[in-house]
Amino acid sequence: MVNFFEFMLGLLKEPAIMVGMIAFIGLVAQKADISTILKGTIKTVMGFLILGFGAGALVGALNNFSVVFTEAFGVQGVIPNNEAIVALAQQAFGYEMALIMFFAFVVNIVLARVTPLKYIFLTGHHTMFMSMLVAVILSTAGITGTALIAIGATTVGSLMVLMPAIGQRYTEKVMGTDQLAIGHFSTLSYVVSGYIGGKFGDTSKSTEDIQMPKSLMFLRDTPVAVATTMAIFFSLASVFAGGEFVETVSGGQNWVVFTFMQSLTFAGGVYIVLQGVKMLIAEIVPAFKGISDTLVPGAKPALDCPMVFPVAPNAVLIGFLCSFAAGLVAMGIQGALGWTIIVAGVVPHFFVGGAAGVYGNATGGLRGAVLGSFAQGLCISILPMLLLPVLGGLGLEATTFADFDFGVVGLVLGWMVS
């Protein structure tokens, strides 16, 4: 009997089983048939395990990059990538993350039901990333057990209705309806861009009035985009560090070959993590939506940022280019001042910068899109750097959380618990 309890306790302490339980409860609550429940639960557990495989694949490349970068420029280089940091954190904080995520869904439904903020936050991977961030910060501050889960879930669940509400004024302007909201923890990027567009923009000329080359759209292909940026920045670092040094890191492998192989290994690792996240949330999100449909009539779905892309495709490209340019400027400033450099990543700048471009265009036309996305590009290059100290041991990794809201929430929460 004691053995059985030990077995159950051990099983439930396993974070992969914990996330499986969330999917299981969600599917049962929706009265799914047994084969669907079994299939959904197994896939969710596997999704979590795949995160770990991805982490194993990308961590080596990331460490090598870090060593070469530091040798080349004398400062640390950090790649802002949510998938990578969550994959690295899952081993130590996966259990806390799973519980916070589960109760955050509950808090979201309760708040949408009883407050006027009728938002249901459907971007499951961002709920997961935010839960991880909060788990890391609370744990680092020494909070454990029930208190950690309670504070964490209340925080994340509240953010799931508050952030869409904060963005709603601008989202309504972009989408032309108040029935949809932005459910992406880059809300403040869009608010900054929308605000700047409104203040300094000029709505007489829209981004959609000009011709833009569509060839850059290949950057929507995430593994390709990650591989390309990583190869460019790793090559630069290798050149500055010198082939001789790189070959001491590579264990004798030719430094050019090593640089490219490591870049692609990192991108491959990120791709594995993406597949894991996809499997992990694929059952949980529909269950969450199904339950909220019944419990919160008239709820407004808060959706992922590409929802705004079809509204103004040119603004997406302009927003990306301006945001990325801001990222490069920020790298220059950080390097000149000897701070930790936040390596400008194509993926955050494409998705967030692109969406910010659409918001800026909605409030201030072409000029609004340019200025708004540039300004938020600076913000998402500085904030991850400020966030590093509050992440404890995880802040020493060569990757970190990428988005605006993660930075702000992390800093505020870190300050509150210290």
Binding site: P301, D304, C305, P306, M307, P310
Partner: protein
């Protein structure tokens, strides 16, 4: 039974949301289909009878040689999904 694949850039958020909307519409229409979602990169080597994507991603699916694409300007627009899905019934 037809296979419907819903696609977005990362295969995480947008496509899952569209998949939920497509499933709802298919159920309403009594359209017998296996519906799943995927990222743009994987979609290149996948097979499906019908594709669903936001207009910007749809262009790239076309470039990859995919046919029968349901294109959405508003990813949660069930009325538009219904009209376009009906043409494949």
């Amino acid at each position: 039974m037809k296979k419907i694949l819903v696609v977005c850039g990362n295969g995480l958020g947008t496509s899952l949301m569209m998949e939920m909307a497509v499933k709802e519409v298919a159920k309403k229409l009594g359209f017998d289909a296996e519906i799943d979602h995927e990222d743009l990169s994987s979609a290149a080597s996948s097979q499906a009878d019908i594709w669903v994507a936001a207009t910007d991603v749809a262009t790239q699916l076309e470039e990859a040689g995919k046919e029968n694409i349901i294109k959405l300007v508003n990813i949660f627009d069930k009325a538009s999904i219904e009209t376009q899905l009906k043409t494949f019934m």
